[in-house]
Subunit: 377 residues, 4 copies
């Protein structure tokens, strides 16, 4: 039953599946979408929506972090992005937009992002940004890379961060290096008073190891976005999201058993382009989704229709394009709750999730993780 294949003499590979490869099968009595709950909580924090933002400047400003929080989700600010490096982010964004309009050379936009990210991180700017979110009264979250986690975290906590996201393309519980001092996540987390969400991971073992560091949540994937990210093409590393989420959920179950009750949340990050993909990610076992590109359609998104991930600004090996996002634009509230006047699955993202749950007969997220799935082809 385990889907192992001998792809050459003496070498076995596992067949793995994307969200695109699967579909949800209704096979129970249906239910009114009014009796469906999409609530989830992590640590002491309760959310109406299983929505966490992918920490890219293209969609998360302090302002949109507040807006997402007020609508029931969790906005995550990138603590190493433009708001941490430039006092006038509006001007930086304007340069990006103007370049997008003026050139057909996709490299020009990546070069500009590389240049903008070569400015140093300024703790004062970072604290200002965090405080804006905190003062609005929503849950405050920020993302740091494993490389800068130790250095930036004290200031982030001082500014009021309540949930810390430690996120690189692919991270592990223990990093090997020669001369610098790599982050030991277990010690790092043990020293903190706030819950940590860490990732991305792609397999059961790394997920399990991250859970054992004390993380409150584990991120599966690295924000794969078709036409935007290129980690698979550049590194040969792809994350088949359906299989990866299911595997991380298996780690969650085994870790729960191993610890006699500690439940580590699984967040799916990538491969979700339409509302149906959100439903599929939950159906595979995700507790919440980390959304990027689909939020670029919000009128409030700082990228104003452009989308990129943090990997676009890597100084020597960028793995994200700066791409035109969706062609439509609606306010964030409509994006999440509708009403929609198109049939593309890109507006009313969480109304669609409720309806998918209702049509398959489930009333909460945890139950919906058991819905039947089919593979197409």
């Amino acid at each position: 039953m385990r889907d192992l294949v001998e792809i050459g003499m003496g070498r076995t590979a596992r067949r793995a599946y994307d969200l695109d490869d699967i579909e949800i099968v209704p096979s129970r009595r249906t239910r009114s979408s009014k009796v469906v709950s999409t609530a989830w909580k992590i640590d002491a924090y309760q959310f109406d929506l299983p929505l966490v933002t992918h920490p890219t400047d293209a969609i998360v400003s302090p302002g949109t972090a507040v807006a997402v929080g007020e609508l029931g989700g969790l906005g995550v600010l990138n603590a190493e992005g433009l708001w941490a490096r430039h006092s006038n982010v509006e001007e930086a964004m304007f340069r990006i937009l103007r370049t997008a309009e003026d050139t057909d050379d996709p490299g020009a936009l990546v070069r500009l992002l590389q240049e903008l990210h070569s400015a140093p991180i300024r703790v004062d700017l970072l604290k200002d940004a965090i405080r804006t979110v905190r003062e609005a009264g929503v849950t405050v979250a920020a993302r740091v890379s494993p490389q800068h986690a130790a250095e930036l975290t004290p200031d982030l906590l001082a500014a009021g961060v309540e949930i810390l996201v430690v996120q690189g393309t692919m991270i592990s519980a223990e990093h090997v290096a020669r001369d610098d001092h790599p982050l030991n996540l277990k010690d790092f987390i043990a020293d903190l008073d706030v819950p940590v969400i860490a990732g991305g991971v792609a397999d059961y073992r790394t997920a399990m190891h991250l859970m054992r560091t004390g993380a409150a949540g584990v991120i599966v994937g690295h924000g794969y976005t078709p036409g935007v990210t290129s980690t698979d093409r550049v590194l040969g590393i792809g994350v088949p999201m359906a299989t990866a989420i299911i595997d991380a959920a298996a780690a969650r179950r085994d870790y729960l058993d191993e610890t006699g009750g500690r439940y580590v949340h699984v967040l799916a990050d990538g491969g979700m382009n339409a509302s149906g993909d959100i439903a599929k990610a939950i159906a595979c076992g995700a507790d919440a989704v980390m959304l990027g590109a689909p939020l670029a359609a919000a009128a409030e998104a700082p990228g104003q229709g452009l989308y990129w991930t943090a990997a676009a600004a890597h100084p020597s090996l960028p793995r994200s394009r700066v791409a035109a996002g969706p062609e439509y634009e609606v306010d964030l509230k409509t994006l999440l709750f509708g009403p929609s006047s198109d049939a593309e699955g890109v507006v009313n993202l969480f109304g669609a999730l409720r309806r998918a749950m209702a049509k398959t007969g489930y009333s909460d997220l945890k139950e919906f993780q058991k819905v039947n799935l089919t593979i197409r082809r």
Copy 2:
């Protein structure tokens, strides 16, 4: 043999197939198409063609319902569509066509449909429409949604409806709701004197439960039309039609055994774009096909070349585009019986079915449900 795959640790999914994935294999002596019968009957109603129209205003007016009936099929009027809401449907259709010509924004058409459907259902209009069909002497059928079935059915029956179609995207025998009074199909059907066709369903279990409500026919699928419907994208729910039809046919067989002889008809709704797909749907076990988009090529179709399904008008989560239909136009009779002067499989739809049956050596629909199939890829 059951095609189950472990798509992640501890999680199994079934591999499912579309009509596109399969092909019919001739493996018996051939037969003249003159000795082939395509007749079927449901309850007391006999039809020369296994053709039921998908109840969308784009193809079914009272006039085309009559035309389909006179040619041997069953036209189903949407009792909650434009003919039920507007006294001047021609004007409404004219607005739709003009908008289609004037704009490139697909949302504009969906918004217009949403607006046109926000007008209340008028029983007088509905009755007029039904009577037009009845007076022509063909079998009269109308579609209601589960939500409005209880409310509208008495008037429909009074107006002369002979076959009632209760159809939502996905329905179940029992619907759960908190404060409103959901339809109990079993009680509802028991109280009626006319046969009920109900659906859509996607799996064996729901099909079996619907059969047990007393339905005379069960609809498989929800009218999937490439480039038009988007239920898979919006909800993550798709119906692999080959597998779904076969499963519903298995339910039909088991229910026949369970009841000692009650035969519930299986109608396939969706995934049929050319005449070969009609043959495949029957080959998978359908007793009849519910056709939508292929009929939009009829000169008589009210949509005059545009096609959409009822889901296009959903007020907050539309799941159908309003799309340009086929580029050719022929009268309905030629569409169904030929002659064709193209090689695209879109004209002479039922002549093609006869020929497919003949070339594989079958003389009636019930036998043809056993023809050999292959999977491509």
Copy 3:
């Protein structure tokens, strides 16, 4: 090992493969292409090339039948095509070409072919055409449909046909009809003094039955040509050529055993667009290939760059477009033997076959039928 899949509850389908799905694997010592033979014989007729023409007017005139014969293959004239119906075929071809230039409506070309084929078959014209081939001294072959075989064959034989091809889209050893007198192939062949090649078939059983009628050769497939034929779309019937050829070769082997030595040749008709496909068809077990569209590139082809199959002219259900063929044009000899100055696999068709055999270490066609194959995806 048999590739059977339960595609739905209680319903099994076999997975089948196209020539595109497979590739040849070199795994022996290589060989000089100079020591390779591509000769084959059927009955008393010996050919340097395993090439039989698909009997379409687009590529076979009496003149090209002679040219093919002189170059080592077998040209098959369609005894029910334009040369049998029009004294001035040049004018008919001119009308086709002019229509192709003047219109974008593909239906216009099909309608014209339907019109041209509505002219009655004239035995005098047919005999003239056959005699032209006979007088050139090459082997004379003509194709009749099962429907007209009994009526036309005496005149064809009188005119000098040496190999008779009885070919419909899908034929069987025994055809069932009500009021007309269908062809009994076994009796028909028993009464003839010339070898008969019959087809097309798609499976082991029908192939075996045809072999038992006394046919000298069995045609597998119905000339599938991408962008041209549409039997799959129109009838739901497709022929996965790799699997179908292998199955017919299995029938050949079993029939050889059953008869203690009668070898019936297998001819592959369809799915061959480039020289590599010819090699694959032989590799699957074909004794010869029936080529259509690839020969439309010949400067001598009557269609002058257009291609269609006989199914294009069906009066009510055409299953072939009249399509622009290859964009290049070379003389027939170069097409078959090179030299080529492109890299597309469409010129030097049989030089390529020799080289494929040489690189995999085989020196004759019969041996090459055993070469190793892989499936891609």
Copy 4:
């Protein structure tokens, strides 16, 4: 587990995989890319990069061979290409470029290459080219075809070639011919003092036989480049690179055991379009990659943006187009080591390999050959 499928009655084929079909899975602790080594050695020659150039004139001039060598790889000059036939290669290249600009006929470029290659090989020119490389102090390698190996090798060795590459599309340890004297690789290699790299091969058995001839390295594949090469289309022979590399690595392992310690290197040639594919080829077991098209982006490449392989110049059956290469142009050093300012995986090819190894936790190439793989679809 062996992925064998009955593709037709009594005929089995093995399912084989391309690099595109697989992906690398991180499942260990991560590692800093600074502690990663990409060094390899063959015979006495040590290289910083597992990079060997595909011997096509489009990318390898004496000058680029030197540049590649200085950057840590091995440049291989085609001893039967333009530098061996024309004293003024610049003029020949200019004609190619001008023709590419002036015509839309792809055949024109192939014809020009055929013409340029019809000039005789001049040993004086060849020696001059080799000496240029030798004098720069880098390792000197040249490619000969099996047909001309015996004739050209003495002069090549005299001019200073240190590694000889004997390469045809598909070669075997023993070639069968009638009247000419084919190369016996075993005798040929036994007589030489320099290491020989030979190929291409596609399967375990031929790889094993080549290893037994005494070759120091075996090339897997024939430089498959999408849009450029057409061996699959012309001959029906394709090499699924992931499976072929794994099989050759199995032969390497078995031969190592058979000989008690002789390690023959496996070089992957083809199917690598982006840096991720290089990582995958190593992951499948390659010791080094033979790169062609990705190097056409180098400003130093003689083809100046055009790419073709040696098969383009075959006099009667060319199997490579002359195609526009990448649209960008960077210097060779940046191409190999970055920094990159795009996200396409085409610049910083070996920085990307280091990072892929680091993110999956491996520190040298030999270890990285064991990384986990998944199949997508």
